[in-house]
């Protein structure tokens, strides 16, 4: 983007003086990028940015973490995971704390790394902690495909795989006060921007698919504020997002996964908001079914309201006092991408 152009949209967003708008960034990486680029300091107070439920680590329920820990403590098992899941509290402790008392946990960059590990240590049973949204699901499908085609015996997945449209519909149906969505760019790389078209049309609300740099987010916000209403999906990230998305990735996902209900920390079970491994491959599932219990660590926690955009972190009596990044009480404080975590690190 030329600097003149950036200046023009920045000054539009700074001087905006129309009706107040609530724009929800669904994706946790957007939450983090907005904080890092200081966007709130640039735009008008009339444009209110609220964070949504798009940090997969944050919305993983406590029962899932408990199951991971109990598997990790079993003789011969090793849990392979992304780093950010290690800090997520279960009902009693996190994977990180369990590691301190002997749980076998390996932090990896890619789920595919577990294939190497499994070949190197044939006596160990590896379980990949498969959390994530549509962006990460194709990687899990590739992992399953590798396990099946290479007949690897010592890898399973514990899945908590979630999908975006149903949870966004849940927010809208519950009356979350949202005027527009900054749609998750990397989800759309896989699903295609058209995944949000039915929701945009049904609720007459605009979606702007955005990249993750400050400039890209400003462009998408400009689009949402300019058109204000109307059920359309605008694609501001065409260098990697198409309308159809990645069709090979989608068919590979379809081969191994099927839609299911999913439990969201702080929000409960939402119909059709997740994926589970298909029955014919259920022997590769380490017991993901029914991990729906979600113990609220602290009754005063407002995470469910925050995740729906109804409250801000500052409205929560625990925020910054009892609930801090070192002592997270609820979902939004858990990951660096969680809304409350981002607020504490950047806006306090």
């Amino acid at each position: 983007m030329s600097s003149d152009y950036l200046k023009e949209i920045t000054s539009y967003l700074r001087e905006y003086d129309g009706d107040s708008m609530n724009i929800m960034e669904v994706c946790g990486s957007h939450t983090a990028a907005i904080a890092k680029s200081g966007i709130k300091s640039i735009i008008s107070d009339k444009i209110n940015l609220v964070s949504g439920p798009g940090c997969p680590v944050c919305v993983t329920p406590s029962a899932y973490v408990d199951k991971l820990i109990s598997l990790a403590l079993e003789e011969g098992n090793c849990i392979a995971t992304f780093g950010d899941l290690m800090r997520v509290p279960g009902s009693e402790e996190s994977l990180n704390i369990a590691k301190g008392r002997g749980a076998d946990v390996e932090m990896v960059y890619s789920p595919m790394d577990v294939v190497e590990l499994a070949k190197k240590n044939p006596d160990k049973n590896y379980i990949f902690a498969a959390v994530g949204f549509e962006t990460t699901t194709p990687v899990y499908a590739l992992l399953l495909d590798t396990i099946v085609s290479e007949k690897i015996k010592n890898i399973k997945l514990l899945t908590a795989v979630k999908t975006m449209p149903a949870v966004i519909e849940h927010l809208l149906a519950e009356g979350a006060p949202i005027d527009g969505f900054l749609a998750p760019g990397h989800v759309c790389v896989v699903t295609g921007s058209k995944i949000f078209t039915p929701l945009a049309e049904k609720y007459d609300i605009p979606f702007a698919v955005s990249g993750f740099s400050g400039e890209e987010i400003l462009e998408a916000l400009y689009g949402l504020v300019k058109i204000k209403k109307g059920g359309r999906v605008m694609n501001f990230y065409p260098k990697v997002v198409t309308e159809e998305g990645n069709t090979s990735a989608k068919s590979l996902i379809d081969k191994y996964f099927t839609p299911s209900a999913a439990c969201w920390r702080g929000m409960g079970i939402i119909k059709g908001s997740g994926l589970k491994i298909r029955d014919e491959y259920s022997y590769l599932d380490a017991g993901s079914e029914g991990l729906n219990e979600d113990i609220k660590k602290n009754k005063a926690c407002l995470c469910d309201q925050v995740l729906m955009g109804k409250k801000t972190p500052k409205d929560c009596p625990l925020f910054g006092k009892v609930c801090t990044p070192l002592t997270p009480q609820g979902a939004c404080m858990v990951s660096e991408e969680g809304c409350c975590h981002t607020w504490i690190a950047n806006y306090r």
Partner: protein, 71 residues
Amino acid sequence: MCVALPGIVRKINGKTAEVDFNGNTVNARTGLVDIIEGDRVLVHAGCILQKVTEDEADSLNDLMKELKAYE
């Protein structure tokens, strides 16, 4: 969610490809999109998700032009 970064495909080795990110090399898994050496690709969690195309800039320009005219 979904940390992903563009890099350049240096070498394809069957089911994986060496993707370079300013001197960091990841053996990224291929199979979701057709690639050739030299392509810019988006990598997430060690897997090539998509090719990065620059010629799509036109569609972005059209969208911005349309928005600018919007009142």
